[in-house]
């Protein structure tokens, strides 16, 4: 009884001891904050990676893929049985994406993934990372009118409406350029005077094209109002000539039909400025002089080859958001997104065919949505297209049997199924030496990353526990001081018949109480910190003027935190244990103190 009374009194009267446990408090608080934030990051990352990757994947590293996917699918269903929740086939292939921005072409490497719209959603959370609310429900690779990324004010106008506006504008610019050119030619011919009108026209157009074939191809990819066949390196025959009719002078078009919205306004102005010469009688005459230009939209044969971006789209493609945009900080310090392409724009993709040796294939796609998983690795490389389309253009469909090849088969398992076990079962069914396929779980795929985060957390924990251990030595020193200070009292207690063990337990209990108080305060402090971490970050930002948590780096708008109760309990146990251990030596010293010598102590 006296033990509790005394250590309770010591706790209340010895402020020096409380000062010594401030370090325990801080250590515990730091441990909890660091663990919560690390756990939050890890959890977030796990969720994201797991959401993007399916549970299990059977993949072939060959560009041609698995030739008979049906056989594999049957084996998988047989092996996994009712453990399987969903299965989908995927074609993944490295490709080059080309689009133009501000009149210049931009090419970058992407990972083109052909997905089956129906079954892909059953293995991964693909849809929820899309921008358009309808696509989030179900992706159909069709361009929507508008309504992309509701609630995101920085998302530019996109969709069909945007595409139509751009197409109309482009046509108008084109027409004006054509007129302008005709006008100039007329003036030129009037100066020359000797040549007939039609002859000079033929010469200039042919000359213009032959002298600069590359810009023409670029313009095709860029302004995308020319049908995809025409952009292939070998334009021939009728298609080529009809293109040439439509094709304005490459340089002027490049400049005037720039994609950027800001330049659209100026382009519109230019267009209206160019309007007055239209009323000239000479101009109308010139218009009549180019019959193919007028006729082509109405001529059925010509229309078959003519791709009108105002009414038509290519196959849909979903781009990772970092491919088409850049996140940056404006001079005011606000985070902004700059979009180079947006839903409604056309892009070209160069990809290897499935044959051997692989041959490069060019294909135009229309961006129908963006994909934002907030994992920069994926957002900056992934582009999704419909599976059957990709199989077709890569030649992955056997013309005789109709069997379709895939590069990987992705599976989702029922909740609670042992992932490693299922993977090993599949590995047994598909021995790598015979089938040349690789069976992996999502953890294997992201193993190094997850292991690195785990290692980081472990090391941080060890370091922080060392801080608490250092605090333990502080307690040790303080306790020795208190024992010396209390020497006389120890002597008195012994003379009153208190056994050494009782004296020791006073100080041990004292240490325990200090540990509990210290870690209790630390836990409170840490939890408060974690719960308000984002407002604290904002406050620090305000005071120092420096961003604590940069959303351009992490793609999180807030710092994610998770508090595992078990972690808190372990931290408390650990720190209390350290406090008790630190009080063991002083306690033994107190217990061993000789009563006579202690009483002599004046």
């Amino acid at each position: 009884m006296y033990k509790f009374l005394l250590c309770w009194r010591y706790l209340r009267t010895r402020w020096i001891a409380l000062a010594s446990i401030v370090s325990v408090t801080l250590g515990v608080a730091t441990l909890i904050v660091v663990n919560s934030v690390m756990d939050g990051f890890t959890e977030e990352m796990h969720n994201r990676i797991h959401g993007i990757l399916s549970d299990l994947v059977v993949e072939s590293h060959s560009s041609g893929g698995i030739s008979d996917s049906k056989w594999f699918e049957d084996r998988i269903r047989e092996t996994l049985g009712d453990r399987l929740e969903g299965l989908t086939t995927v074609v993944a292939v490295p490709a080059m994406l080309n689009f133009s921005f501000n009149g210049s072409n931009h090419t970058q490497q992407i990972n083109l993934i052909g997905i089956d719209q129906q079954s892909y959603a059953s293995v991964s959370d693909f849809s929820q990372y899309l921008m358009h609310p309808e696509n989030q429900k179900r992706i159909d690779f069709l361009l929507k009118n508008d309504g992309y990324a509701p609630g995101r004010s920085t998302f530019p106008e996109s969709g069909w409406n945007y595409r139509r506006d751009m197409a109309r504008l482009r046509k108008e610019i084109e027409r004006e350029t054509q007129r302008n050119r005709e006008l100039r030619r007329q003036i030129k011919s009037a100066e020359v005077g000797s040549l007939s009108l039609s002859e000079s026209m033929d010469k200039t157009t042919i000359g213009g094209v032959t002298s600069s074939p590359e810009p023409t191809a670029q313009a095709a990819g860029n302004s995308s109002d020319i049908a995809s066949p025409s952009s292939t390196p070998e334009p021939t025959g009728l298609a080529a000539s009809s293109d040439l009719e439509n094709q304005p002078s490459p340089e002027s078009l490049q400049q005037e039909s720039a994609n950027d919205l800001s330049s659209v306004d100026s382009a519109k102005q230019e267009a209206t400025e160019l309007n007055p010469p239209q009323s000239d009688s000479t101009t109308t005459e010139m218009m009549m002089a180019g019959p193919s230009l007028k006729l082509s939209p109405t001529d059925p044969a010509a229309r078959a080859h003519y791709f009108d971006s105002e009414t038509d789209t290519h196959t849909g493609i979903v781009l990772g958001i970092s491919i088409g945009s850049m996140r940056y900080r404006d001079p005011h310090g606000d985070v902004k997104d700059l979009f180079f392409v947006r839903p409604g724009d056309d892009v070209t993709v160069a990809l290897p065919g499935a044959g051997s040796p692989p041959r490069a294939i060019d294909e135009s796609f229309t961006v129908v949505d963006f994909y934002e998983s907030k994992m920069s690795e994926y957002d900056s490389t992934f582009a999704f297209v419909p599976l059957d389309r990709l199989q077709k253009i890569r030649g992955m469909i056997d013309p005789t049997t109709g069997k379709k090849s895939v590069t990987s088969i992705q599976m989702k398992l029922k909740p609670g199924v042992n992932l490693a076990e299922a993977r090993d079962d599949l590995r047994a069914v598909f021995p790598p030496d015979q089938t040349m396929v690789h069976v992996q779980s999502w953890r294997d795929t992201q193993g190094p990353l997850l292991a690195a985060v785990q290692l980081e957390t472990t090391i941080l924990n060890i370091l922080l526990f060392m801080i608490i251990a250092v605090a333990g030595f502080g307690i040790l020193a303080t306790f020795f001081m208190i024992v010396v200070e209390k020497t006389r009292d120890i002597g008195v207690l012994k003379s009153l018949g208190a056994p050494g063990s009782g004296i020791a337990s006073i100080f041990l209990t004292y240490g325990l109480l200090l540990g509990i108080v210290g870690s209790g305060a630390g836990v409170t402090l840490g939890l408060l910190f974690v719960w308000n971490i984002n407002s604290i970050a904002a406050l620090i930002e305000k005071i120092t003027g420096r961003e604590v948590f940069d959303p351009t780096v992490y793609y999180f708008s807030e710092i994610p935190t998770i508090i595992h109760p078990a972690m808190v309990v372990w931290v408390i146990i650990g720190s209390v244990l350290i406090a008790v251990l630190a009080s063991v030596l002083p306690s033994i010293r107190a217990a061993r103190m000789h009563p006579v010598q202690a009483l002599r102590y004046e």
């Binding site: 005394l6 002597g491 008195v492 012994k494 003379s495 009153l496 056994p499 009563p595 006579v596």
Partner: protein, 278 residues
């Protein structure tokens, strides 16, 4: 404080062992050999030897220099008497008291309490002996500064009993302690800390603490040494009253001849030996 304020009839019912005890006797929970110190407690004061020492030798070693303090001291304290140990400082009187109180062990010689040898007992048994048979007061009072008067007085009972037993009998134990504090005239100072008490009040608290376990013998180490004449006399009066009314055996160390004169027996120590016994 003088004896006129003492309520003797009340004291007899609370402190006298012959009456029914207010709280249960303390239990020994150690091994059976501890029973050695479990003596009959209700012997009448017949003048038999309560505390006895024979041929005590004690040498303190300090930095390899041996300082012999006691060189064969014989000592006996009769039951119901006040025995004074007197001598110059350095004569070994405090050391003798410590040996008698089993706070220390003699190098040679034996200490007997009521016919039983106690100096060779285990540490645990000696702790229990001190707690239950012995009361001690000191020159510098040695109260615990964190505890109030009442808590200081209760300390020996808290030490002697388990927390459970203490809490179960809390009321009777508290009443007993409060009566003792009233007895030494500090009823109005129950919840004051030692730092708020005067020297005399502290010493009276120490006396109440020494008596709270109803000991057989009270050992006092210069109880008035740190007090002025008048206050010291008050303390002595209390001790004498206790001796007279309850037959409490007291062994008192002092260097004050005038105090020694008032005692029943005087043992004079000089340079580690007994000079005379009166």
């Amino acid at each position: 404080m003088n004896t006129s304020t003492l309520n003797t009839s009340k004291l007899n019912t609370t402190i006298d062992r012959t009456d029914d005890q207010i709280y249960e006797p303390l239990d020994f929970d150690g091994p059976t050999r501890l029973r050695v110190v479990a003596f009959p407690t209700s012997e009448p004061a017949t003048g038999r030897t309560m505390l006895q020492a024979q041929g005590l030798h004690k040498t303190y070693k300090k930095n390899r220099v041996s300082v012999p303090v006691l060189k064969g001291v014989d000592f006996a304290a009769q039951q119901g008497k006040i025995t004074a140990i007197i001598g110059q400082s350095g004569s070994g009187k405090s050391t003798l008291l410590h040996l008698l109180a089993t706070l220390d062990r003699p190098d040679q010689g034996e200490v007997h309490f009521d016919g039983h040898r106690i100096d060779h007992l285990s540490r645990r048994s000696r702790d229990q002996f001190r707690n239950q048979r012995l009361g001690m007061i000191f020159q510098f009072y040695h109260l615990l500064p964190e505890l109030s008067t009442l808590e200081n007085v209760l300390a020996p009972i808290m030490i002697g009993r388990s927390a459970f037993s203490y809490l179960m009998n809390r009321r009777s134990i508290h009443n007993h302690a409060k009566e003792l504090i009233e007895r030494v005239g500090l009823g109005h100072r129950l919840h004051h800390k030692p730092s708020e008490l005067s020297g005399g009040e502290m010493q009276r608290t120490a006396i109440a603490r020494a008596l709270v376990t109803n000991p057989d013998i009270l050992l006092a180490d210069e109880p008035t040494g740190n007090l002025d004449q008048e206050t010291g006399a008050g303390i002595l009066d209390i001790l004498k009253d206790l001796n007279r009314e309850q037959g409490l055996t007291i062994v008192m160390v002092t260097h004050d001849e005038s105090i020694a004169k008032k005692c029943d027996a005087v043992v004079r120590l000089s340079k580690g030996r007994v000079e005379s016994v009166v």
